[in-house]
């Protein structure tokens, strides 16, 4: 932005895009500029609005306001197909091709070379081979796409997109399931395409890769544009601050007093607990009456840690103890049996059952814990539901209302109530305040503190660093699927957390050796 303006208009210009889903404002006045021949990283945490922006640009969602210009002309594609016709192609993380068709058919579907109404299979294969050769791939194009690795499928998708005369190529998390070598191949192809003048939008949460490949970076947060920078002149700490933190002046927010530091009993502990390719083995002690916050970027291993602790994922090494006694956590059932509770991040899909009432949702976990042979009577259910609706101030205070009709904050409270009804000793909360309005936000945080004062052990994941700082007694910072820092007491502040997340590769290597 601070560069001298180009004489030619930018390749893709997005100005003042807004998009709401119901009451949720997914994008507010977002600008985005892509030049020909550049690789432009689009960054932001979950819910920042990256996917929405891409889908608005490519016409999958209609936009509420704003303009999109391609090569200086206003465009308003109404479908992904129209966007492709205009010259904007998207390759998603889950390759949107057809694994049951041959590579050649995938490259030329709906535009196969024809003669007398018959597909010229030989000609199609020859062209497919030639096209892929441009990308350094020499494979049997007659074989089904599904028989090849994800990397090859990605390259095929890119080849198809480019061959459809794309001027703008959007790659949404293309490297998430690729290994190092495959990433190198992909980056080689991206650089080659950029030299041909194609503008590439690169969405990724791997910051190393962003620094390796991108020319410029645009950061979104909570549906707003935070800024656009040259990659070379943007320090990593600054980038992470853009993604996570508030403005500099605000990051000084300190935590509320958490009461006296009594010697607390250990509720559950994990030694060398981990799973290969999932989370590097970690040590973690969770004490009664203590909140441990898990901080880190998306994909750093926060949710993975939570799932291991709860038993939703099986560890392949290490020892878990509950109240000092060794236990095995093989399934969520084990977790529940040992008095653990888990409120997952995806409330809508993994948590609440929208069609069931508040009462039914609340008693769900308790009933599961008791087993089918000891059903809760309707009177017991009513009693439990009434108690928690009152205790957590769930509104409207009607236990017979389907949960799907409640607001996000109240749905979250119902989830909390579900686990509290099982009288857990440890509760894991994954992004408990996501998608909740500001008022309910404060209330959830207050609840977390109260529960903790009652002697519950809490493990809380949040992308909101201010929030974590407010309620945590200890903060574990994760990076690249490993626990890298353990902050306690006065050391907990936003600056320290950011520094730990941003620590450069050199320090990572050092830590790994010590």
């Amino acid at each position: 932005m601070e560069n001298s303006p180009d004489p030619a208009p930018p390749l893709l210009e997005v100005r003042g895009i807004s998009k709401s889903f119901g009451a949720v404002r997914a994008l507010q006045e977002v600008d985005f500029t892509l030049r020909a021949g550049e690789i432009h990283a689009l960054l932001g945490e979950n819910g920042a609005g990256k996917s929405t922006l891409i889908k608005v640009i490519t016409g999958v969602f209609p936009r509420d306001a704003g303009i999109v210009r391609l090569g200086g002309d206003d465009i308003a594609p109404r479908s992904a197909k129209a966007a492709v016709a205009a010259g904007i192609a998207t390759v998603y993380q889950e390759v949107n091709l057809l694994p049951n068709l041959s590579v050649a058919q995938n490259l030329f579907l709906d535009r196969q070379p024809m003669r007398f109404g018959i597909v010229r299979e030989g000609e199609m294969r020859r062209r497919a081979k030639a096209l892929l050769a441009d990308f350094g791939l020499n494979i049997d194009v007659a074989a089904p796409l599904g028989s090849y690795s994800v990397a090859i499928q990605h390259v095929t998708a890119i080849a198809r997109a480019v061959d459809l005369s794309a001027r703008v190529l959007i790659l949404d998390e293309p490297t998430a399931s690729l290994d190092r070598h495959e990433v190198e191949i992909l980056f080689g192809i991206m650089r080659q395409l950029a030299t041909r003048g194609i503008g590439i939008v690169f969405v990724s949460h791997f910051l190393d890769q962003v620094y390796e490949i991108s020319d410029r970076i645009t950061v979104l947060r909570n549906g707003r544009l935070v800024g656009e920078r040259e990659t070379a002149s943007l320090p990593r700490l600054e980038l992470i601050r853009m993604m996570l933190g508030r403005e500099l002046a605000e990051t000084t927010s300190t935590r509320a007093s958490t009461g006296e530091h009594r010697a607390r009993e250990v509720c559950a502990s994990f030694e060398n607990y981990g799973k290969a390719g999932y989370v590097t083995p970690f040590n973690l002690e969770l004490r009664h009456g203590e909140v441990v916050g898990l901080a880190g970027l998306l994909g750093s291993g926060r949710t993975e840690t939570a799932r291991l602790v709860f038993g939703a994922e099986r560890a392949d090494g290490g020892q878990a103890r509950v109240e000092g006694a060794p236990v095995r956590l093989q399934s969520p059932r084990d977790g529940v049996r040992h008095g653990f509770g888990y409120c997952p991040e995806e409330r809508k899909t993994d948590g609440i059952v929208a069609e069931l009432t508040v009462r039914e949702n609340i008693v769900l976990a308790l009933q599961a814990k008791r087993g089918l042979h000891r059903p809760l009577s309707r009177r017991e259910q009513d009693e439990i539901a009434r108690r928690y609706v009152k205790m957590l101030d769930i509104r409207p205070a009607d236990p017979e209302r389907p949960v799907g009709l409640l607001s996000g904050g109240n749905q979250q409270k119902v989830l909390l109530a579900r686990w509290l009804a099982t009288s857990p000793r440890l509760l894991v909360l994954d992004e408990p305040t996501r998608g909740i309005d500001v008022g309910a936000h404060a209330e959830i945080i207050r609840l977390i503190r109260e529960l903790c004062d009652d002697g519950l052990a809490l493990l809380v994941i949040s992308s909101e660093l201010d929030e974590i700082v407010t309620y945590s007694d200890r903060v574990v910072v994760l990076r690249d699927r490993a626990h890298v820092e353990d902050l306690a007491g006065e050391a907990i502040d936003v600056g320290n957390i950011l520094a730990a997340i941003a620590a450069d590769a050199a320090t990572v290597a050092l830590e790994a050796h010590t």
């Binding site: 049951n100 109404g117 599904g146």
Partner: protein
């Protein structure tokens, strides 16, 4: 294209079954029996060809049996009671059944409904409509019927390749070419692979859905005409359950019930296997003809289990390489 191993297995089952039957009843290995087998199953082969397209595209068409029933009644009444020339009656019923299929396809696409429900409704509708036309069997005495029934190509060994068997073979071959060689065929596979991806890749999913169900109903209409030649009558209760027989033939022929893979040739072999079982039971003479159904059921189980095994085998190397990648 794909699904070759399952087709090969179907072919082996057919050949082995035929050999076993021939050992027990040497007379089975004659062109006379084979000719009859083709004639007796002509309508099933035609309707199963359409079903193959539907199932590969990820759908199902339960209405075809009823469409056959309706067609026989319509044709019989049109010729015998309403005085239509047979050819006009044929064109009318084919237009009608194609429109019926197109309508079901449109409903499936526009309202995003499961094909199972929509074609189930179509099944009741068509069957009900045929009862409205007539509840009793209407014999067809038009001279054309006698001519067609008498027509047959002589095969060496005394077998007769009847007109309706020829129609069936032409449709099977035409269907196979349509599926393997044309853009339409590729799109049918694409739809069965993933509707969402196919749509993103530019396939006109709505139009394709309509065309596929139109094709299925049209072929059911032709099967109905063939059935009326076969029985020389129109009866509203004819071809009850044929939709299930044809689904069985498609699955035994190696087509994945979840869509995306399969072939018309496999379906044809599936039809022949069912016909062979029927023939064996006829030759045996002591077995109840319901043993056909039992044998078909056992074969279906075997083939579905086989497909699951093949799918699991095909998936294994992919997950392995993924595991190595992470």
């Amino acid at each position: 294209m794909k699904g070759l191993p399952p087709v090969l297995i179907t072919a082996i089952v057919l050949v082995a079954g035929f050999a076993l039957c021939a050992v027990q009843f040497p007379n089975i290995a004659s062109t006379r029996v084979v000719g009859n087998l083709l004639t007796d199953n002509a309508f099933l082969g035609i309707v199963a060809t359409g079903m193959t397209f539907v199932i590969i595209s990820g759908g199902i068409d339960l209405s075809v049996g009823s469409v056959i029933g309706f067609t026989t009644v319509f044709v019989a009444l049109a010729i015998e009671r309403w005085g239509m020339p047979p050819l006009v009656a044929f064109v009318a019923i084919l237009a009608l059944s194609a429109a019926f299929g197109a309508a079901m396809g449109a409903v499936i696409h526009v309202f995003d409904l499961p094909p199972f429900i929509v074609t189930l409704a179509g099944m009741f509708l068509a069957r009900g409509a045929s009862f409205l036309l007539s509840t009793e069997s209407v014999p067809i005495t038009a001279p054309v019927y006698a001519t067609v029934s008498d027509f047959a190509l002589r095969m060496p060994g005394g077998g007769r390749l009847t007109a309706i068997a020829i129609i069936m073979l032409v449709i099977v071959i035409g269907g196979a070419l349509l599926l393997q060689l044309t853009r339409f065929g590729a799109n049918v596979y694409a739809l069965g692979g993933s509707r969402a991806a196919a749509s993103l890749m530019g396939v006109a999913v709505g139009k394709m859905t309509i065309k596929i169900y139109m094709l299925s109903s049209l072929l059911a209409g032709i099967a109905g005409i063939v059935f009326s030649f076969y029985t020389s009558a129109g009866y509203s209760l004819s071809a009850v359950g044929v939709e299930l027989d044809s689904i069985a033939a498609v699955v035994i022929g190696g087509t994945l019930l979840t869509g995306g893979q399969g072939s018309v040739i496999g379906t044809f072999l599936g039809v022949l296997i069912q016909g062979l079982i029927q023939t064996y039971i006829n030759f045996d003479g002591t077995l109840s003809s319901w043993w056909t159904k039992i044998a078909t059921g056992i074969l279906l189980f075997a083939f579905i289990a086989l497909q699951q095994g093949l799918v699991a085998l095909a998936r294994r190397p992919v997950t392995k390489s993924l595991g190595a990648a992470t």
